[in-house]
């Protein structure tokens, strides 16, 4: 649960806000253009910053040091209020005016995502990232600067938002940028798929074929319920057409289903619908509710104790898995899932989601469990939470 922001003392003028932080040895290797590198210097190491300036580096970072040294020849980022936040390999945004450092890419994190836009054309009841209608094209510009600074060995990079297709031609541009800078990185793009009902839009992302998975939420097998959940009339038809348009063009598609009181009644039919109508999807993800954003407001509309839907979820998930559609269950702790569903339960993908309740102390299944969302409160706590003793786990 490492925060993404911290404060620092910044002295000297930085020519650019985005910097790749590298330790001295890696910085000198020259894989990243020097003018985009802040050289991370451990405390106590004696380095001639004049030589670093001659080599064209942008800045030096001395996380634990309170102020610049008298002979520093480069802009210095020092005095981090939390020195753990930034580590070599990360890409940071430096706000020179207020000293805020934000980590935009974290090396070694198990999920790195690019936040594309705050705008959305749906208003899902349980949205964890409520949209805002603001001009945020600056994000795309920043991402285009960020992408080349990401480590090329990164196996997967997420695109999240907001609805990325609302960026129009900028979405293909971002995909192109990723393909150029990160040829070995798979993209995982969250979208409601509605805009792909227009074949021209589906055509426009042709470069994503073979390197991206489109993660598209579908909450029912019938329009009325899906449209209600996403609070947009006609959304079901558009999403279905969008899925077919993408599939027709050879794209990989993941279907996401969030389990709550509004989707639960059609969950079994939904599984059957998928198998009958979309056997081509490469992955189906059933997900527990994320108690943030709109979900907090709509708690009474949405809440079902996972213990109560466990058996139904197990059946729906295995219905698809048995028909050779790879199926996963996310965000539901093992103790509230029937054991039959455990083989399909995945550990949560984001570091910040992976926290545990005090009741989890001593649970021998913790290494395999997804844990809880960081934002969980008592109102979202299942009565089924418990720790497994070693003998139970051994069975």
């Amino acid at each position: 649960m490492l925060p993404l922001h911290t404060r620092a003392v910044i002295s000297g003028d930085l020519s650019r806000p985005l910097l790749k932080v590298l330790d001295l040895a890696e910085a000198l290797r020259g894989d990243v253009p020097h003018e985009q590198v802040a050289v991370h210097l451990d405390d106590g190491i004696d380095v001639d910053t004049g030589a670093l300036r001659d080599l064209g580096f942008a800045a030096v970072m001395r996380p634990g040091v309170t102020d610049r040294q008298s002979d520093d020849a480069l802009p210095v980022i020092c005095g981090l209020s939390n020195t753990d936040v930034v580590n070599p390999g990360d890409v940071i945004r430096v706000r020179q005016d207020n000293g805020q450092l934000s980590v935009l890419y974290r090396r070694g994190a198990n999920a790195n995502s690019l936040f594309l836009t705050e705008q959305c054309n749906s208003r899902c009841l349980m949205c964890s990232q409520p949209p805002r209608d603001e001009d945020d094209l600056w994000r795309v510009r920043e991402l285009l600067d960020l992408i080349p600074l990401i480590d090329r060995v990164l196996p997967q990079l997420g695109f999240t938002g907001g609805e990325p297709t609302l960026l129009g031609p900028l979405l293909p541009e971002l995909i192109r940028a990723c393909k150029a800078a990160l040829p070995r990185t798979g993209l995982h793009i969250l979208t409601n798929g509605r805009n792909f009902a227009d074949p021209a839009v589906a055509d426009s992302v042709h470069e994503a074929r073979g390197c991206a998975t489109w993660a598209i939420p579908l909450y029912a097998d019938v329009p009325s319920r899906h449209d209600h959940v996403v609070q947009a009339a006609g959304a079901f038809d558009a999403t279905i057409n969008g899925i077919y348009n993408l599939a027709e063009r050879g794209h990989a598609i993941e279907i996401r289903f969030v389990v709550h009181a509004q989707t639960l009644p059609r969950m079994q039919r939904f599984a059957e619908f998928l198998w009958r109508n979309m056997p081509f999807v490469s992955h189906v993800a059933f997900m527990g509710l994320e108690p943030m954003g709109f979900a907090k407001v709509n708690r009474d509309l949405l809440w079902v104790d996972p213990v109560d839907y466990g058996p139904a979820l197990t059946e729906a998930a295995w219905h698809l898995q048995d028909r050779s559609i790879t199926t996963s269950i996310y965000n539901v702790p093992l103790c509230v899932l029937p054991e039959a569903a455990w083989p399909l339960a995945r550990q949560s993908i984001s570091d910040w989601k992976n926290i545990y309740d005090p009741a989890c102390d001593g649970c021998s299944l913790r290494p395999r469990c997804c844990g809880f969302f960081a934002s969980h409160g008592p109102a979202w706590r299942s009565r089924g939470i418990k720790a497994f003793r070693f003998e139970e786990a051994a069975e």
């Binding site: 001295l24 040895a25 000198l28 004696d46 380095v47 001639d48 030589a51 001659d54 080599l55």
Partner: protein, 220 residues
């Protein structure tokens, strides 16, 4: 996620079943216009069998020594190698060889002074003036045996600073260097290099030669 490399797999299988490979190729080539027939010729048992799968990671730099300064560029070495090459070619001084009587016109001094041995086999043996085909090292050396001459690329000033700093970082990490990381090849750095070279059994030169850089893991 992880895809099986089918072409390699196929190559392996064909390696085991080499005798049938020819038949297979004749059967497949019309139907499979893909890469399969192309792969077949190289699927030879001696290549594919008994060869463990390894990743080749060079641990030292190939090519000219570009980080060690001028004095090591001994252009004499390459010349001596040329000379020995000549003497080993033999045949010039053999008196038993009765050459056809053909006296060539005096050879014009050729611009590319190194004449390949094949041209010497023309009947010019009797010409007494020919005895040592004078190799003049004045012109820039040509051919593949010219490595290590003054024509080798020198590292730019910035590259040299960066490389020196990298070496200082590594020497410091290993405990040989305690000074300032400044990119300057000062006495402390040279001494640390010598100590490292001594400990690693390398030639104790005190300069950043390729063998030392390789041992330090400062590559590329």
């Amino acid at each position: 996620m992880k895809k099986k490399n089918w072409t390699d797999y196929l190559k392996q299988v064909l390696g085991w079943t080499a005798p049938t490979a020819a038949t297979l190729s004749s059967i497949w080539s019309p139907a499979q216009a893909g890469p399969l027939p192309v792969l077949l010729p190289e699927a030879h048992p001696s290549n594919t069998r008994l060869q463990p799968l390894t990743f080749v990671m060079p641990n030292r730099m190939e090519g000219p020594e570009i980080y060690i300064g001028h004095r090591s560029h001994s252009s004499h070495r390459s010349h001596s190698s040329h000379r020995s090459h000549y003497s080993s070619a033999g045949g010039y001084t053999s008196p038993s060889y009765s050459a056809p009587v053909y006296s060539p016109p005096p050879p014009p001094p050729p611009a590319p002074v190194y004449s390949a041995p094949s041209t010497v086999t023309t009947p010019s043996w009797s010409s007494p003036s020919k005895t040592p085909p004078s190799y003049q090292p004045s012109a820039p050396a040509v051919g593949s045996n010219s490595s290590g001459t003054a024509a080798a690329p020198r590292a730019s000033q910035q590259d040299a600073i960066a490389m020196t700093m990298r070496v200082q970082v590594e020497l410091m990490r290993l405990g040989y260097y305690k000074g300032k990381i400044d990119g300057k090849m000062g006495s402390g750095t040279k001494e640390a290099l010598r100590a490292f070279q001594r400990a690693e059994g390398l030639a104790v030169t005190g300069v950043m030669d390729n063998a030392t850089l390789g041992k330090l893991g400062v590559v590329g």
